[in-house]
Amino acid sequence: MCCTHSFVEVKNEPLSPAVSLDGIKGMKFFDPHVHMTSRTTDDYQAMADAGVVALIEPAFWLGQPRTGIDSFRDYYSSLIGWERFRSSQFGIKHYCTIGLNSREANNEALAEQVMEILPLFVYKEGVVGIGEIGFDDQTPAEEKYYRLQLELAKESGLPVQIHTPHRDKKGGTSRSMDIAIEHGLDPYKVIVDHNNEETVKEVLDRGFWAAFTIYPFTKMGNERMVDIAKQYGSGRIMVNSAADWGISDPLAVPKTAALMKIRGISDADIELITYRNAITAFAQSGQIDEADFAQAGSTIDQSQKFEGNTILRGGQQPRVDKSSIIIS
């Protein structure tokens, strides 16, 4: 969950030259945090073209609070249904994490009902964790539902994807980890998200996974990310885009890989940070099979014409020529 910046702060400065993705051609990427329900099919196409083969969509809030349990049910259901299908049309394997986000934990009457339906969803195929959960304002209600969901993670044997707060980030991050350990979770099964220079050391020292969100204005920039990779290496570190309905970039992972390449980070480290580590962490759910990525990718561009009938294999979408003024 992202995007608390004020839009008026965005200055109209000239844009820097386009980053060339040539240096990372042929590399595969895994974006372990991206809210695709908020994105267009153009984004899916661009991600597939840039080498993103799989992604995780964490359950979050929708920019405004939900008012009833059925909205939650339909949302969770869309993460394992419609959105998964939409993604497959572009050859990208879609996973999700399921949870009650911290902001909406503050509506306790509704939160109670959400806790009742969560077990229905966490055992579904392709659910790779409980997430994104944790703190926003660090209220007692947030703590209560964070704890309850940690218990659910323990019971279901699923990894946890923790959202760390925007305000009082450092304290909130420490506290999130303290509570996870208090509930007996193995830090190796917990991915602490939205880290920065101030939080990363403690997260790694305590044995958790450290995820970094490359998100303009409010979170990490990828130049800072390169410096972190140089300082901390590639162990238990991963990057994601957390792209959503705010000004964000669904190509953040491949772009960061490209910048790392330019700035001299080894291919092996780039692979760990932008692909392999996320798989290692979330595959502890037993729900990730890399063979599925290859399968999803192999059906790309399989539109075939037979006797005048368009037969699209595997539900693949036909490619649209965006450079043409003609729309047919």
Partner: protein, 277 residues
């Protein structure tokens, strides 16, 4: 255990691991078992012997599990194994599975419609499924599934067929596609063809399969267009359509194309050969 459950279990046993079989025999709430099935069974495609397939057809005519993955088969089996004594309670239990289903679960649920108890109770659910835009879900309802042709009313059936055309499905795989052809559908499909022509888009040749028996003055104009403006495949589709018609002007038109008449007589031309199935 019903005869159907028995044969399904035989096929499952032949395709599943002993661990998965042991898990299957445990008692647990339907919604949990249904959700975690792939974790227990994997998702390998099953093999079915000729004898098993034959037995299955004799018990549940039209119902087939060919090409299914093991988790889909096991899920259908779980639905049949669930307590169905109380009609209302059974309906609620199954309906709740639909409400929280992911894609694989939806595929299994819709595949099970032809063998679920209280068959007339699922008509609305089937019509709802046709509104899905998820390819695999539509395929589960449309392909090799005897439920829709047997239970859907004409409006819902016509909607299914239209949706199949709109989503580029293989029309020949829809059970009952010819027997449930009707004049209203033929007219709707004719309008659809006109829209496609106006947009300069291709018209699915299978469309004329559903028009043939109802050719009249209006529909004949479309058939004529196939012959006058179309390519060879369009004329072949027109010829096949006319072969199902008693409309005299259409017969006369076809007779102007002796090579098509011959192909029809020799059975060298059929909807299956024309549409590549």
């Amino acid at each position: 255990m019903t005869a159907l459950q028995s044969i399904l279990k035989v096929i499952i046993r032949a395709n599943a691991t002993p661990d998965a079989m042991a898990w299957l025999d445990e008692e647990r709430p339907l919604n949990t078992a249904f959700a975690i099935t792939p974790r227990k069974t994997g998702k390998a495609v099953i093999t079915v012997t000729d004898e098993q397939a034959h037995q299955l057809t004799s018990i549940a005519p039209g119902f087939t599990v060919d090409g299914w993955a093991i988790d889909r088969l096991v899920r259908v089996y779980l639905l049949l194994k669930a307590d169905k004594g109380d009609k209302e309670a059974y309906f609620r239990a199954i309906e709740n599975l639909f409400l929280a289903a992911e894609m694989g679960e939806l595929v299994a649920l819709y595949s099970a419609l032809p063998v679920l108890p209280y068959p007339e109770m699922w008509m609305k659910r089937c019509s709802e499924g046709i509104r899905s835009n998820i390819g695999d879900v539509l395929a589960a309802i449309m392909y090799s599934n005897p439920y829709p042709s047997k239970y859907l009313d004409q409006n819902a059936w016509n909607q299914l067929v239209l949706k199949a055309f709109f989503t580029d499905k293989e029309i020949g795989k829809i059970i009952g596609i010819d027997t449930r052809a009707n004049k209203e559908l033929a007219y709707i499909l004719s309008d659809y063809a006109h829209e496609r022509w106006a947009a300069k888009r291709e018209v699915n040749l299978s469309l004329w399969r559903l028009v043939g028996s109802f050719i009249d003055d209006k529909l004949f104009a479309d058939i004529k267009r196939l012959f006058d403006d179309g390519k060879l495949v369009d004329r072949q589709a027109g010829a096949l359509a006319i072969s199902a018609s008693n409309y005299q002007p259409a017969k006369e038109l076809l007779n102007k194309y002796p090579e098509l008449v011959t192909a029809l007589e020799n059975k060298n031309l059929s909807w299956d050969t024309l549409t590549g199935k």
